[in-house]
């Protein structure tokens, strides 16, 4: 599966990725409308940490969704969102164990990374080159399966 990862040692915490993401997808700049968040508490010795959708092959958000608006696409290798099916219940955001889904300020629908059709704007705009698109299995799911954790 494809997903975005952030090298936290390279990240300077500028949040250009957040502003760009929000603006490209929503025509507005707001951190809650960004699919990626840089968690930077301002404590100097702390490294900024990134939170973004992991594109799980067995997504908890899709399990929680009663209408099938969220699902893993085998062809695209990401979790896709079908807005037409969404009833804005918000259960997906609560279900995501990674906190990678926020709810749209106006619509209430999930705000989650769609990898910009394979060419993520956050990567293009990261001056520190901290953000990468990788195509590999999810280490968390691999470990779960390997050790028989359900």
């Amino acid at each position: 599966m494809k997903r975005i990862i952030v090298d936290e040692n390279k990240c300077s915490g500028c949040r250009v990725c957040e502003a760009t993401c929000s603006y490209i997808h929503e025509d507005a700049i707001n951190p809650k409308l960004s699919r990626i968040s840089i968690i930077n508490t301002g404590v100097l010795e702390e490294t900024p940490k990134a939170v973004v959708c992991r594109q799980c092959e067995e997504p908890k958000c899709a399990d929680a969704c009663a209408t099938g608006a969220l699902s893993f696409s085998n062809t695209k290798q990401i979790v896709i969102f079908n807005e037409e099916l969404c009833v804005n219940c918000g259960l997906c955001a609560s279900a995501c164990p990674y906190g990678a889904i926020t709810l749209h300020i106006i619509k209430g629908s999930p705000v989650k990374c769609d990898l910009c059709d394979g060419d993520p704007s956050c990567i293009k705009n990261c001056t520190s080159k901290a953000i990468k698109l990788i195509d590999s299995s999810d280490e968390i799911e691999v470990r779960r399966k390997w050790f028989g954790i359900s």
Binding site: N9, S12, G13, C14, R15, V16, A19, T20, Y23, E26, D27, A28, I29, N30, P31, K32, L33, I39, N40, T41, G42, V43, L44, E45, T47, I105, N125, T127, S128
Partner: protein, 620 residues
């Protein structure tokens, strides 16, 4: 809501006397006249304070404003400006801090804050996504800025909240106390921290997740933003120099031109400049690169002292101005000591420039035998004595002993001491001088003299002369240069973008770039003449404020050292600006500005700039 994009169109008014907090709209007509940040700060401060307002009194106001570019996709525009009547200069003061607070305030729904009155007990202001309250800060009174931020985050259970706070120095009304923004930025100049202290306001904490910022013209804006990002990423200084060294490269550059303030500006070359160079500092101190909101330049560094004195100290790295003020100016050649001095200032909430210049003044008094060890609590205040520097600084931070005297600033100290110390009191209008030579650039001589703030390098800029674009040794045409540069700095501070990218947008005179940015992002229909008039309006309004408070030509004066003592050595040897030269430049500058021979804006100038709505009668 404003018809113009990128604004919230609202400000928050906080009355600390009666704890009433209210929202107000900012009329479009006011945005058209003043644009944002610097302009709006000047407008509200002039309009809402009375002549003779006591800087540390209940009637003075403390105003925060963002600019229209803050919180947008425009790169390197994170700043929040803070405005008030200064306790140090008794004139108009504006100081700007980077970081994430400005964007957070806009995401919370406000372009700015007006804080008035005085609280009975210590409080902090908590702005939570469009809801605001005053909370008890009694337990935080006396805490350093970092301890205060940590305590507030725990109190609110909000680790991401952005905070502007004062330290113990602001509480004790030290006249050059700063306001620290998060741990990495300061609205440093002019004693704005003392105003917060006088109002019993320990901090302002902001969370913003609800407000959406919109752009007027998408295509034009995207092109402007893409082009500027490209320029930043392909520019050696912006993409390599600043992310590696911050602004500390200026130390050796200024030294090699013979314009590095050394030992209280007795000389302008420092024999140990290489020991405090950018390369040395980066090697000994700098760790991870950090940045402000939406800024690809990344000029900030987490700093850790790796070995030697104060080994293990973790802090934010000093920028050039601090390397100047505690380094060459005090004759100190140890990077660790400069980092520690910077750290003590950040924690106590002190302006590193003003306190460094004030201590250098004390050191020269000591050298000349005007002040002795017993006068200085037993501290041997020699140039180059790093233990003495730190001891004096600790006294200032605690506002105790000789520190109480030093904390009044260079102007008051020299007035109290007399004995010819006025000659080497390095301030303009009471504000201690930044690290860019007065004598070494004729344009800076005039620019510093007429700077509304005083000894600030952010009104007039030294770079057009340092780069060789203009002849630094000639007074010819400098009135026009200062006029043109100050047009761009006041627009920079109104838009608000950072000085780091001002060269890319235009540093000498307003350009189509300035115009296209503001029209594309906000949807104005300005032409260049409109923008020029706005910059003239703001500059004049700041001047009118200071004139109203008693300033005029007599205050547009340089420290006596720079008017009487030529630079004694080095590549700029012999340069100085005698009063006669300054007077020639002042006459021409006043004329160009539409001011009388005493430096007072003529009433016809005030009317021409449509300032007569708030200045109804001639000032003199």
């Amino acid at each position: 809501m404003s018809k113009y994009s990128a604004y919230c169109g609202k400000l928050l008014r906080v009355n600390l006397t009666n704890s009433v907090i209210s929202e107000e709209n900012i009329e479009d007509e006011i945005l058209e006249k003043y644009i944002g940040c610097n302009g709006l700060g000047a407008y509200y401060l002039y309009k809402e304070t009375k002549k003779g307002v006591e800087p540390l009194g209940e009637d003075n106001k403390l105003i925060f404003f963002t600019g229209p570019l803050t919180g947008t996709i425009f790169p390197s525009a994170p700043k929040v400006g803070i405005f008030s009547k200064s306790p140090l200069t008794k004139g108009f003061m504006d100081s700007y801090a980077g970081g994430h607070l400005g964007a957070e305030l806009k995401f919370s729904g406000y372009d700015g804050l007006i804080i008035e009155g005085k609280s009975e007990k210590p409080v902090y202001l908590w702005i939570n996504d469009g809801c605001a309250e005053l909370r008890d800060a009694s337990d935080y009174w006396g805490k350093t800025t970092t301890a205060t931020r940590e305590a507030i985050k725990r109190d609110l259970n909000e680790p991401l909240v952005r905070i502007a706070a004062i330290g113990p120095s602001g509480e004790k009304l030290v006249s050059y106390s700063c306001i620290m923004v998060d741990g990495t930025h300061a609205a440093g100049r002019g004693g704005l921290g003392a105003i917060m202290g006088a109002k019993n306001l320990k901090a302002v904490a902001v969370k913003g997740t609800k407000n959406c910022i919109r752009i007027a013209h998408k295509e034009e804006t995207q092109k402007i933003v893409d082009d500027l990002f490209h320029e930043i990423r392909t520019n050696k200084v912006l993409n390599s120099g600043l992310p590696t060294y911050g602004t500390t490269g200026a130390t050796t550059a200024n030294n090699s031109t013979g314009i590095l303030g050394t030992r209280n500006w007795q000389t302008e070359t420092f024999e140990d400049a290489e020991k405090i160079s950018n390369v040395e500092l980066a090697d000994k101190l700098f760790e991870k690169t950090l940045s402000c909101f939406q800024c690809p330049v990344r000029c900030i560094h987490f700093c850790k002292i790796k070995d030697g004195k104060y080994s293990g100290l973790e802090t934010v790295k000093p920028q050039y101005e601090t390397v100047y003020s505690f380094g060459s100016l005090c004759g100190i050649s140890e990077p660790n000591v400069i980092a520690m001095a910077n750290h003590l200032c950040n924690e106590a909430g002190l302006d590193t420039i003003s306190v460094g210049v004030s201590i250098a003044f004390i050191m020269e008094c000591f050298e000349k035998g005007i002040l002795m060890e017993p006068d200085l609590n037993g501290i041997k205040a020699e140039f180059g004595n790093s233990d003495s520097l730190i001891s004096l600084l600790e006294k200032v931070a605690a506002n105790s002993g000789i520190g109480e005297f030093i904390g009044q600033g260079t102007k008051i100290m020299s007035e109290k001491l007399g004995q010819g110390t006025e000659k080497f009191a390095i301030h303009i209008k009471g504000l201690e001088l930044a690290g860019h030579s007065v004598r070494g650039y004729k344009g800076m001589s005039l620019g510093y003299a007429v700077s509304p703030r005083g000894g600030s390098h952010q009104d007039m800029r030294h770079l057009p002369e340092r780069s060789g674009q203009f002849d630094r040794r000639s007074i010819e045409g400098k009135e026009q240069l200062v006029h043109n540069v100050m047009a761009t700095t006041v627009i920079r501070d109104s838009f608000t973008y950072c000085a780091m990218v001002e060269d890319n947008i235009g540093r000498v005179g307003l350009t189509e770039k300035h115009l296209n940015i503001i029209n594309a992002i906000c949807g104005f229909n300005f032409d260049l003449a409109d923008l020029q008039k706005i910059s003239d309006r703001i500059i004049n309004l700041e001047r009118c404020f200071s004139v109203r408070e008693g300033m005029d030509r007599k205050d547009d004066i340089l420290p006596e050292r720079f008017m009487t003592e030529p630079i004694p050595e080095g590549p700029s040897e012999g340069m100085y600006t005698p009063k006669e030269e300054l007077d020639i430049m002042l006459d021409k500058y006043y004329q160009l500005r539409g001011w009388d021979a005493n430096g007072v804006p003529l009433f016809e100038t005030i009317k021409e700039l449509n300032l007569d709505d708030i200045i109804q009668v001639p000032l003199r």
